[in-house]
Each structure stands twice: as structure tokens, then as C-alpha cells.
């Protein structure tokens, strides 16, 4: 069993804690008016898991761990297939999520004919 480099682990936890703090600060300022776009936007952004699926879908079929343990070539190809499905669903989220967020945000407009300060 390998052990993880503690420096890397600690750095990851720092990133997590700071992102949580920042996320709380940024997202509490979003008005209820925009809560639906917020949900679809964060959804699109978390479609960044696409980059994880890309690597798995594009991995070389020769897997060194499987080779070393005398494994078959079938194992990596299952992973490739899972990676492919993940690439597809994550891309749907990214493209669909950003697309629909923009479509919604386009609709939010201020009163055009200025009759008194409407705020």
C-alpha cells in the first residue's frame, strides 16, 4: 500500500477549506432573484469533472498495473467506456448548463422606458 505525500494532502485540504469559505462569501451575495441561474451556473461549473473523464477516456489501452499483475486488456477498456459516458454527460452539463444560464440571464432586464427610479 502506497502512502500519500502529506504535503500534497495538506495542500488539497487547504484548497478545499479556502474554496468553501470563498464560496460561502460569494454565493451569499447572490440575490434570490437569480437563484435559478445560480443553480444552473454552479452545475455547469461543476461539469469541470469533465477534465477527469477526458483523461480516463483517452488513456492508453496498455495499462501498466494490469500488465504487471498479468491482467487482461479488458479491464482498461471498461474504464475507457465508463470514461466515454462520463465525458458525454459532463459535456451535456457544461454546454447545456452554460447555454441555459445565458438564456435565462438574457431575460432579466431593467425597465426600458425610464419612468421614475424603479429599483
Amino acid at each position: 500500500m502506497q502512502s500519500i505525500n502529506p504535503a500534497v494532502l495538506i495542500a488539497s485540504l487547504y484548497v478545499f477549506a479556502l474554496a468553501a469559505f470563498l464560496g460561502y462569501q460569494v454565493i451569499s451575495r447572490v440575490p434570490p432573484l437569480l437563484h435559478t441561474p445560480l443553480m444552473s451556473a454552479t452545475n455547469a461549473i461543476s461539469g469541470i469533472s469533465l477534465i477527469g473523464s477526458l483523461v480516463i477516456a483517452g488513456m492508453n489501452k496498455v495499462d501498466f498495473h494490469a500488465l504487471a499483475s498479468g491482467g487482461t486488456a479488458a479491464k482498461p477498456s471498461v474504464a475507457t467506456l465508463l470514461g466515454f459516458v462520463a465525458v458525454t454527460t459532463a459535456t451535456i452539463n457544461v454546454v447545456g448548463g452554460f447555454g441555459i444560464t445565458d438564456r435565462m440571464l438574457k431575460m432579466f432586464q431593467q425597465r426600458k422606458n425610464v419612468k421614475g427610479g424603479s429599483k
Partner: protein, 462 residues
């Protein structure tokens, strides 16, 4: 040597993406800056994806291109064709897509490397990712089915359900812990994933449609946290950051939604609201006064201030444009028109705002509950369109009511109230609403869309 350069390039695109994501969400603090913010986030995403294509582990591009093209086409079609009234279903579906991507990446990582070669911490993060991903996938699919009407919207409950759920959850966590202690036990890993998928279904079927805003927010949070866990597994910071932002956004929204219903998250998840309470107290009695279209139109036309209170019925009747037409007709006569939006009106956070914005209602006219409540005593007519629980005075007056303590839009304090309702039946929660029996209230029965259209016509003719 060259590889080191590529790695730096890769990490740099991730850093850019992280910064742009945060700036993008910051843009959402105001409608004016929101679109610009989203362009930044899109640029960040493009940078990260482009950078990843140079990852040293990628050797075959066929599957990648196929997935990217297929996903883009489906995503673009969804973005263009999904109507605004179906936004809750679409969002639930996208939680499912995000979650299944995380779950599949986790399972793929496991099949590639096996548990035994991973450090304990990575195995934990991987298990967490797969578990959350699996339960969010099926949970979101059920939620989407309920919202679309494919799955029965009423809570599905049976004897021993909570015990069964507890056993399922316990076995799932048990498998999770077992795989951490015994890395080579792959059977338990797959059992954990399967239990996760099953638990997601069981978690959402007992929840009623009226509680969907909370469920949607929670699933949003889970999907984000699953992505963050993926980041820990892969040691990828941009994944951790984006997933955490998503997770916390969902968490904040869940808390806001629960506050707006005066309930706890556990109560929503295990309460099965809308099915258990048979008769809460004596229930309101009396006579409902019906009003004719003509009378309603006259009353509206000669008012000086009118407040519209939309609810989920507005979405089901697709009546957002009809409301806007009536409002325009009234404004032309010099009537002040405002809209009072309850945080849990509709089926997801902000649902009503999006619908009204689609009908070209300026966002300056949309008021939050705290802003509009002090205005009701000076309001001549409050028009309730397809809303029920959010205007139920029992929440304020009757401590025995199942929704006691839930903050409401106090339309009953207006000088008069017109309630647009399809029939005399109860709302989604099945609760009797004493508002309908109050002397200030008049009922206008019929389909909201056609009633509103006729009202607009009548108002023009007054």
C-alpha cells in the same frame, strides 16, 4: 524536459479556470453583471478543457471527440429547446448527469488501479465520490421524473420505510468503511456503488412535490461534493474548487429554502410532508365568495396598487405572459403593479423570477417576501395566481397547523384579495387554506391563463 513544460501549461490553465469560475459566480450578485460573469466562467472552462487535451496520460482521442461532440449536441439542444416552465426538471436532470460523471470516473479509477495500490486517503475520497455520485444520480432522476409527472408526485410511503432506508444507508456506509480497511475487497466496492444507486431512489420517493425546492438544492450540493471528492482522488485543485463552490452553493440554498418553510432538513427528508397529516385541527370553514370576471376587472382597473403573488400554478398554467399582459393593461391606466415572490414558490429556488423575467417583467418589479409584506396594508388588490401554502394565514395564526411558523406573504392584510384557482380543491400539500374564507377574499375559478387574458381584455374596455 518537454513534459515538465506541458505540465506547467496544464496547471496554469487550471489556475486560470479557478480564478475565472470565482469571478463568474461573483458576477451573479447582480443581474447587470451576471452575463459578463458567465462569459468569464465559460472562458475558464474552455481553457481547462483545452489544457487537459495535452495531459500526458491521454493517448487515444477517438472516444474523447465522440463524447465531446455527442455531449455538445445534446447539451445545446437542451439549452435551446427546454421551456422555462420545465427548468426544475432540466436542473434535476443535470444534477443526475454531473453525479453520474463523478460516479463513473470513480469506478473507472478503481477498475484501472484497484484498491490495493491506492493510499488510504485516496481510497476514502474515491468511496465518498462513488457513494455520493451514485445516490445523487438516481435521486435526481426520481426528482426529475416527479417534476415532469412521469413518476407519481405524491409521497410514496409504506410501513417500515424509514427502517429500510436506515438499513440501506448503514450497509452502504459499512461497505465504504470495509473497502478502506480491506483495499482488495472489490466486491464490497461495487456493492457500495449499487447500494448508493438504490438508496438515492429510496431517499427521494417519500418526498412530496411541494418540498422539491429543498430536495433540488440538496441534490445540487451532493453533486458538487461528489465532484470535489473526484478532485481529491485525482489530486486536481480546479476540481476541488469548482466542486466545493457547487456543493456550498447547494448547501446555502438548502438552508435558505428550509428557513423559508420553517422546517429542518431532516424533517424534509424523513417527514414525508403532504401525506401524513390527515386532519390538522378543525380546519377552516365558511363560505367562499366567488367573483365574476367583470367585477374583478373593475376592481383591478380602479385600484391604485395591485400586487401579484405567483405560485407553482402559474408555471403549470403557463400563465406568465398572461400576467404580464394584465399588468401592462393596468399600468397603462396608472395602476402601480408589483410582484411578491415567496422563496419557495414554485419547484426550485428562484423559479418564479425566471418565469416572470421570461414574460419581460422588469426585475425591479419583483419583490422578495420581506420587502413586499409591509406593503400589503396599502395594497388595494392582491392577486394570488396558483399559490396556496405561501399565502396560508394558518402558518402565522394556527400553532397546530403542519406549516405553523412558515413565513408567508401576508396577502390577507391587503384591502382585498382575488384568488385565481382552478377549482375548489385543496393545494398540493392537501391543506385547507383559511385565506379563501376570509371576508376580504374573492375567488375567481377557472384556468389561470384564460382568466388573466380575459381580465386584461376587460380592463382595457373599462
Amino acid at each position: 524536459m518537454e513534459q515538465v513544460g506541458v505540465n506547467y501549461f496544464l496547471e496554469f490553465t487550471y489556475l486560470i479556470a479557478s480564478v475565472l469560475f470565482i469571478l463568474g459566480l461573483k458576477g451573479l450578485s447582480h443581474p447587470e453583471s451576471a452575463r459578463r460573469g458567465m462569459f468569464m466562467a465559460e472562458a475558464g472552462m474552455a481553457a481547462a478543457v483545452f489544457g487537459t487535451l495535452f495531459h500526458h496520460d491521454i493517448h487515444v482521442y477517438e472516444w474523447i471527440i465522440l463524447g465531446l461532440v455527442a455531449g455538445s449536441i445534446i447539451g445545446a439542444l437542451m439549452a435551446i429547446w427546454v421551456p422555462m416552465t420545465a427548468m426544475p426538471q432540466r436542473t434535476a436532470l443535470s444534477h443526475a448527469f454531473g453525479a453520474i460523471a463523478a460516479a463513473l470516473v470513480g469506478i473507472a479509477e478503481y477498475t484501472l488501479h484497484g484498491g490495493a495500490t491506492m493510499p488510504g486517503f485516496t481510497r476514502g475520497a474515491l468511496g465518498f465520490e462513488v457513494m455520493l455520485g451514485a445516490l445523487t444520480t438516481t435521486g435526481s432522476l426520481i426528482a426529475a421524473g416527479k417534476l415532469q409527472g412521469v413518476v407519481r408526485g405524491t409521497p410514496v410511503q409504506f410501513k417500515g420505510q424509514q427502517v429500510l432506508n436506515l438499513v440501506l444507508f448503514g450497509s452502504m456506509v459499512g461497505c465504504f468503511i470495509y473497502t478502506i480497511i480491506h483495499p482488495e475487497a472489490s466486491l464490497f466496492f461495487y456493492a457500495m456503488a449499487g447500494l448508493g444507486f438504490l438508496f438515492g431512489v429510496m431517499l427521494v420517493i417519500p418526498i412530496g412535490s411541494a418540498d422539491m425546492p429543498v430536495v433540488m438544492s440538496l441534490l445540487n450540493s451532493y453533486a458538487g461534493l461528489a465532484a470535489a471528492a473526484t478532485g481529491f482522488v485525482l489530486g486536481n485543485n480546479v476540481l476541488i474548487i469548482a466542486g466545493t463552490l457547487d456543493g456550498f452553493s447547494g448547501l446555502i440554498l438548502s438552508i435558505l429554502m428550509c428557513k423559508a418553510m420553517n422546517r429542518s432538513i431532516t424533517n424534509v427528508l424523513f417527514g414525508g410532508f403532504g401525506a401524513v397529516h390527515h386532519e390538522a385541527g378543525p380546519g377552516a370553514t365558511g363560505e367562499m365568495r366567488e367573483i365574476s370576471l367583470d367585477d374583478a376587472a373593475v376592481r383591478l382597473a380602479y385600484a391604485s396598487k395591485v400586487v401579484f403573488v405567483p405560485g407553482y400554478g402559474l408555471a403549470t398554467a403557463q400563465a406568465q405572459h398572461a400576467v404580464r399582459d394584465l399588468a401592462s393593461a393596468l399600468e397603462e391606466r396608472g395602476v402601480t403593479v408589483k410582484y411578491g415572490i415567496h422563496p419557495v414558490a414554485g419547484r426550485m429556488p428562484g423559479h418564479m423570477n425566471v418565469l416572470l423575467a421570461e414574460a419581460n417583467v422588469p426585475y425591479g418589479d419583483l419583490y422578495e417576501m420581506e420587502q413586499i409584506n409591509p406593503e400589503f396594508p396599502t395594497t388595494d388588490v392582491a392577486v394570488v395566481v396558483g399559490a396556496n401554502d405561501v399565502v396560508n394565514p394558518d402558518a402565522r395564526d394556527n400553532p397546530d397547523s403542519p406549516i405553523a411558523g412558515m413565513p408567508i406573504l401576508e396577502v390577507d392584510k391587503a384591502k382585498s384579495v382575488i384568488v385565481l384557482k382552478r377549482g375548489q380543491g385543496r393545494g398540493f400539500s392537501g391543506l385547507e387554506n383559511p385565506l379563501f374564507f376570509k371576508p376580504v377574499t374573492s375567488m375567481l375559478y377557472g384556468d389561470a391563463k384564460s382568466s388573466l387574458a380575459q381580465l386584461a381584455q376587460e380592463v382595457k374596455n373599462v
